[in-house]
Subunit: 522 residues, 2 copies
């Protein structure tokens, strides 16, 4: 209560912003409206909270996710009632699947106005629920700041989650008791010695495999997982799509499970034991007629070393101790930079350029979908970097995520690998990159189609789609001009249509400090 | 059952598409994914359903709304699981508030896959509920086609509503009993003679007013409402934001209630009776400290002549009979074309150009927010046209709505009045306009700001916002280049920065048959 004695009277919005800052939240990704203007006004009275405008809420939500993945702590969004939250929903879905800590502040009509069916009225809590692990609508001005502190704690987890605090306008504009004290973060549960022993025993019974995701996919966890695998002969996989994977020359390697069920089933075929670290038992991305959903073979026993949110690194350390695997071995990816490519432009040549040119400490936001097969292997031996995946399958994540990663890590180069179809979902990100001077180089894979859908349609037996099917799977007619789109939002851009042109364009773009875009037409 | 004997075996997706076509649905606004590919494949086997691709689901949803407003019957969307529906949510909110008939088909994971927490898993029905008056998740292949027929009937209303049918992939790919018979549309309830008498008596007791919205805002309803008003001396208003308003030279006039509560309260001050036709009792758009939410003055008796969904024209006819108002009088707006403007460009000069140049039968999609005050009055005496408003307050409606209106009315010119801030929400619409060759002229009001928010902030007493508040209310730094953005999506564009330039640019754009864009910088 001491703090209340020393601060002048303030409204709920200001008390909440002060509470968030004291809880370690430093950035607010926003597109506000009338019901959030008390927060906007408070931003100029409270030091320590950086507002960043997105010209669409999908940008704000995806940037909050990207920031949180790299900063390891929550960003907040500030969104305008149900529709503003609705616009953020797809990237909040991705953030939820990434287990990223994100705090949403969503304005709502004043409590006194809620009974009337005004045009912007909607059930904000109902819209929030499917993407949020924690939802609260504050109806008591005395509780607003404390609710904010609790939202931050909820977002931290562990594991990280999406926490949504809905603030009616009159709760924000009314005077309340001032800021609330931050909530201490919860500690992850310690490893369960019995689970450690059981997992060690399972790994010794070949054929076995480890499957990792979450915070174990950093250098330390990867080293221990590699040690456990090499001590037992177990295979080592990570999920197909992960929030953040450290990789490159000098980093202990790991293999993502393939996307399609057939090669994924093949990768896991014959396993007797599967040990999970920070993830769930593996399932196919989509169901297909006559195909199983579960990827572990029938009869394979699935063991949990660490649930998502447990201390995976401590669990892996305990596992190595149990296995007598000693200190992590020096099994690391070797430096291997592809030769400068020439000739036809395509995912393979782009992968070669990227493998050769990726700077040390780069952060890659990967939403190039079908092109990834040509890119990912060729960057295995590149300078060490972080790889951020499309975690929830909802396209339109790549550019916002890159934006947020650049906000979190201003000293690192961010490279965004973006499909032309996916990129169009949240292209407004480029404007935020220009405004904030973010060090992001975007590569747009202009294959003029939702290429993954042509593959999926062929899997249904439709190898020669008719004109109507073709029309909804292609993004040609008219062709998108990404150079014009990018420049229209203030980001310098160039086009490449041969491997040589692309290599030179990427080299030039990476050498510049601010946002750049290269359209790769193939 | 007869139909089942004569059609070859077909999967649920095809049976559903055939059912929709037989129910009168002709257009499918879509951005499909893997779980919807069985529908995509069916489009080539079923004649009569035109697929139109949007490069973002907000475009598809807003276009479905615009189509439905003009065609008076449902369009269908086809959306990809929870995130695809999430991207459509804001414009579905607007469609719900417009009482537009819209059918959403949303794919979902196969029932067999639902138990696994795959990356794209989400609670689709929960996401649909806040924007849908009818939601069904079909879990029985035998019911899919019948559910489709019911969805169309539900969307028709009256009043029109958003109906969402969720289709698990295995329900779509399994063989079922074939198409279902269309459901006959429900008829609107006939006028209640007692309510008619009560409203007539109320209108005779001055001061009184009529407040209209919905289908009464067409020439026929407006004529009767004007007759009733002039027979009684009652004032005549429509809602601030309406799905569709017929107006212009020769059309009986009506005055929308002002947006801000103070002038709206003034317009209704002193009323003893307010008669509602197809709308609700008027409320402020937002609540403000010390301001009432209800706009009708205390003590004013509110009467309902026709609920939304009732036969408003029949009710107005009965009202005129009761009042002895005779045949509708010739009270119509006079032709009045503003003079060609010159000098400084701004909403007033743009309004003058528009009033002078708007072609007969034009459809105006209005999302120019603060600029409307300069535009709307000056088009009162223009050639007769339809005006489509932002019904739910969720920005990003204008361009998609224009797209859908042009799909519904290929022989009419569509003019889209678009704020630069609002336009960035769903700018992908321009690509669909280019692909489909739609006759839409977009005017972008490039004032480089969310101007309405500066007004609202001033209403809070913040007349000189600090740098952080300013940064989130402006869309400058960098400036958007709408000409580049438009051309990047295949729509010819030009920029104007004086009244003369704008007038010439608009004249040229309107003379062209396909999509055009004019960026008005002021």
């Amino acid at each position: 209560m001491g703090a209340c004695d020393t601060v002048p009277p303030m409204n709920g919005a200001e008390a909440l912003v002060r509470t968030l800052v004291q809880s370690g939240v430093e950035i607010c990704l926003t597109n506000p409206g009338t019901s959030e203007l008390h927060f906007v006004a408070a931003l100029d009275r409270v030091p320590g909270m950086r507002p960043v405008l997105g010209l669409f809420e999908g940008v704000a939500a995806g940037a909050a996710d990207g920031y949180s993945r790299m900063a390891g702590k929550p960003a907040t969004t500030l969104l305008h009632l149900g529709p503003g939250l609705g616009n953020a929903l797809a990237n909040l879905h991705n953030a939820r699947k990434a287990r990223s800590p994100v705090v949403n502040l969503v304005g709502d009509h004043a409590l006194s106005h809620a009974a009337y069916d005004a045009p912007l009225s909607s059930d904000v809590a109902a819209i929030a629920a499917p993407v949020s692990s924690w939802v609260r609508r504050c109806e008591d001005r005395a509780e607003l700041a404390a609710d904010g502190a609790e939202a931050v704690a909820a977002a931290h987890g562990p594991p990280g989650q999406v926490a949504t605090l809905i603030v009616p306008a009159d709760v924000a504009w009314s005077e309340g008791p001032g800021p609330a004290a931050p909530r201490p973060p919860r500690l992850p549960p310690a490893p369960d010695p019995e689970a450690v022993r059981a997992c060690a025993a399972a790994l010794r019974e070949e054929p076995a495999a480890l499957l990792l995701s979450g915070p174990a996919l950093r250098r330390e966890g990867l080293a221990r997982a590699n040690a456990a695998a090499s001590a037992t002969g177990a295979k080592l996989f990570c999920d197909t799509f992960n929030a953040r994977l450290e990789r490159g020359a000098g980093v202990p390697p790991i293999t993502p499970l393939p996307y399609f069920p057939e090669p994924a089933l093949e990768a896991l075929a014959g396993l007797r034991h599967l040990v999970l670290v920070g993830t769930q038992s593996p399932v196919a991305f989509f169901a297909y007629p006559e195909r199983p959903s579960e990827l572990a073979p029938p009869g394979c026993v699935v063991h949990v070393l660490a649930e998502p949110g447990a201390d995976a690194n401590a669990a892996l350390e305990a596992l190595c101790d149990e296995l007598g695997a000693g200190p992590p071995p020096p099994a690391v990816a070797e430096e291997a930079r592809p030769a400068r490519p020439s000739g036809k432009l395509g995912p393979r040549s782009i992968g070669a350029s990227l493998g050769a040119l990726l700077p040390e400490g780069a952060i890659v936001s990967d939403e190039c979908i079908t092109a990834a097969a040509g890119i990912f292997p060729q960057t295995r031996g590149a300078a060490p970097h972080d790889w951020l995946f499309l975690t929830g399958g909802s396209i339109g994540q790549g550019m916002p995520l890159a934006t947020g990663a650049a906000l979190a890590c201003p000293d690192r180069k961010v490279v965004c690998l973006e499909g032309d179809g996916s990129g169009m979902y949240t292209l407004q990100s480029l404007w935020t990159q220009a405004r904030e001077g973010l060090d992001v180089t975007s590569i747009v894979f202009a294959n003029r189609s939702y290429a993954i859908l042509a593959v999926e349609l062929a899997r249904l037996g439709v190898t020669e789609p008719g004109p109507r099917a073709r029309s909804v799977l292609s993004v040609e007619d008219p062709e998108l001009d990404w150079v014009a789109l990018s420049r229209g939002m203030g980001v310098p851009a160039r086009r490449a249509s041969t491997a040589e042109e692309f290599h030179a364009a990427l080299e030039t773009a990476l050498a510049e400090p601010g946002p750049q875009l290269v359209e790769a037409v193939y």
